[in-house]
């Protein structure tokens, strides 16, 4: 069970350049991207990697800079969230900032997948309900949602629940914090058997 303040991002087709602009992809690390999450919208000037962000002019109109959304860990978004590049820096930036859960009507495939690899839960919710949530968040300062992954429900402040689907393997990994590679390597024998057969029937891939 996780509860968190909700931040609405009322914009469809938020792409990965929007989430983390390319200049920050030059880092060879996995951490430290949170201060540059939504950089081109959050700040008024152009961000550069390695630069101190504390003195940069903030965009007062961008939702993230509103005091009431400070500390949000649930991101409410629109259709096709995370479209564009495969950069895992996008979920790294969201995670580093503190977002643990995303709620949207749809996601781009690669981004959706990358979220699970980083302990972020992207939840698909009907557009009609997403519309309602946007209205509720706007109306009530401090609006929080609780997500019960075990039982696959979002719990509204009223106590009403929104059921959601999640792939059982991904759920298992999220709940247990498991390492994908370790799990796959348990099947190393089967991989070797497959590889041996494939090498025999299609040797041209092993030249």
């Amino acid at each position: 069970m996780q509860s968190g303040l909700v931040m609405p991002l009322d914009r469809a087709n938020v792409d990965t350049d929007f989430i983390i602009p390319k200049q920050f992809l030059k880092s060879i690390k996995r951490s430290g991207f949170g201060v540059n999450l939504f950089d081109e919208h959050r700040y008024l000037d152009k961000g550069e990697p390695g630069r101190d962000n504390s003195g940069r002019p903030l965009n007062p109109d961008f939702v993230m800079n509103k005091a009431r959304y400070k500390g949000a860990s649930v991101l409410l978004a629109r259709e096709n969230f995370g479209c564009g590049s495969s950069r895992e820096h996008a979920p790294w930036a969201l995670d580093d900032y503190g977002f643990r859960i995303i709620i949207a009507p749809s996601y781009a495939d690669i981004f959706f997948n990358n979220c699970f690899k980083n302990g972020i839960l992207p939840i698909v919710v009907d557009r009609k309900i997403v519309d309602e949530l946007f209205v509720e968040v706007e109306a009530q300062e401090g609006y929080s949602l609780t997500v019960d992954l075990e039982n696959q429900v979002i719990i509204r402040p009223s106590g009403a629940t929104i059921p959601f689907n999640v792939d059982s393997f991904r759920k298992y990994c999220l709940l247990n914090g498991l390492d994908d590679i370790g799990i796959t390597l348990q099947d190393a024998g089967e991989i070797k058997t497959f590889e041996k057969g494939w090498r025999e029937t299609s040797p041209w891939y092993f030249g």
């Binding site: 792409d15 060879i28 081109e40 895992e88 979920p91 749809s106 089967e190 041209w204």
Partner: protein, 478 residues
Amino acid sequence: MSGKTLYDKLWDSHLVKQRDDGTALIYIDRQLIHEVTSPQAFEGLRLAGRRPWRAESNFATPDHNIPTTKEERRQGLEGIRDPISRIQVTTLDDNCREFGIFELDMNDERQGIVHVVGPEQGATLPGMTIVCGDSHTSTHGALGALAHGIGTSEVEHVMATQCLLQTKMKNMLVRVDGRLNPGVTAKDIVLAIIGEIGTAGGTGYTIEFGGEAIRSLSMEGRMTVCNMAIEAGARAGLIAVDQTTLDYIKGRPFAPKGEMWERAAAAWKGLVSDADAHFDRVVVIDAAEIIPQVTWGTSPEMVAPITGEVPDPDKETDPSRRENMKQALKYMGLTPGTKMTDIKLDCVFIGSCTNSRIEDLRAAAAVVKGRKVAANVEMALVVPGSGLVKKQAEAEGLDKIFIDAGLEWREPGCSMCLAMNADQLGAGKHCASTSNRNFEGRQGFGGRTHLVSPAMAAAAAVHGHFVDVRDILLTLDI
């Protein structure tokens, strides 16, 4: 029982293990690697004390951060002025050395954009499964390979296990019937498809492109189409293998030779969808109706024919789309009703994994030959996709045509497609670009991108605004 699609065949032939929960382990034949999405994966291997499962299946080349001026390139790694970029490139070199991975480094004549170099070297073969930490990996589907863009965690997973954990996608067929009109290219086909189905239209699907117009394309054109499958939301695009595919691959350095070639080619001929295969969705487009395309907004689906105009958001009934259109027009500095041919340009970029192959450069050169770049165009770059494309273009005298017309002839790399190197579009500037994404800030902070074909970009360079390249071609003897 109905037959199998090409995707079904590729999936089935690589299925190592199907789990009860619907996920599957898929064997990966080739991993392509570049400097941006791999360092954290190598670091992960190092921390866990793991080695690549099959090091020789990996193939690396740096492309995103590479400088493209002659002077910078002459200086080798020192020529990368941005120290953070330089570290990323040298980190790739170090990692490849440490883990025994084949790399065409920055100074190698064969270096270039990974999605140009893979097929060019024959490292991409029909029937393979291919991954790369780059969404435009869909490009390689043009050769009848199942090619996915993946995230960095998956890059590490594939290095360590030779497998990708996947859920099977649905099958979509986009059939482009009939023939294209002169001046209409593969880029226009794929932009028209994205305009039709939207940037999320292919989400959850593998798209197979078929029909007479697709079959008639060269391999370069097919790669352009599959490259942008991801802009329609599909992780993988596919085109069936035919004689064009085999002719392209034969003799390439990593391709099988001699008796092995004969066996492989015979097997590859089966890489087509069965006549009675079932597709979950079929989209049919008439090639003859496709007009050269230009994007006006900040998503590839915001596209119009060159004969059209910038649309009016107030006429859009869906509120979410309407808001999106308004945001896009504000960013682009365009007003509804503006004719596409009235959009003035400050910059032209011919390059990227979408359109930097020899045929693209030939098409652009044919348009600018004997002409001059318009006075209002401040910067016009031609960036070949690889060192070998550059060499070929120079052998054909294309470099001279571009230089005489006032365009800059650069060294290979991703360049201004995503502006991770020094090639950046200025704020507020409009750019006719042969790349794949017109997202806000993609080509540079505040830059305004219009996606077009190489011939359309070249025509725009000469006129300083968009023009219908079909009008120009009437006057050309090509």
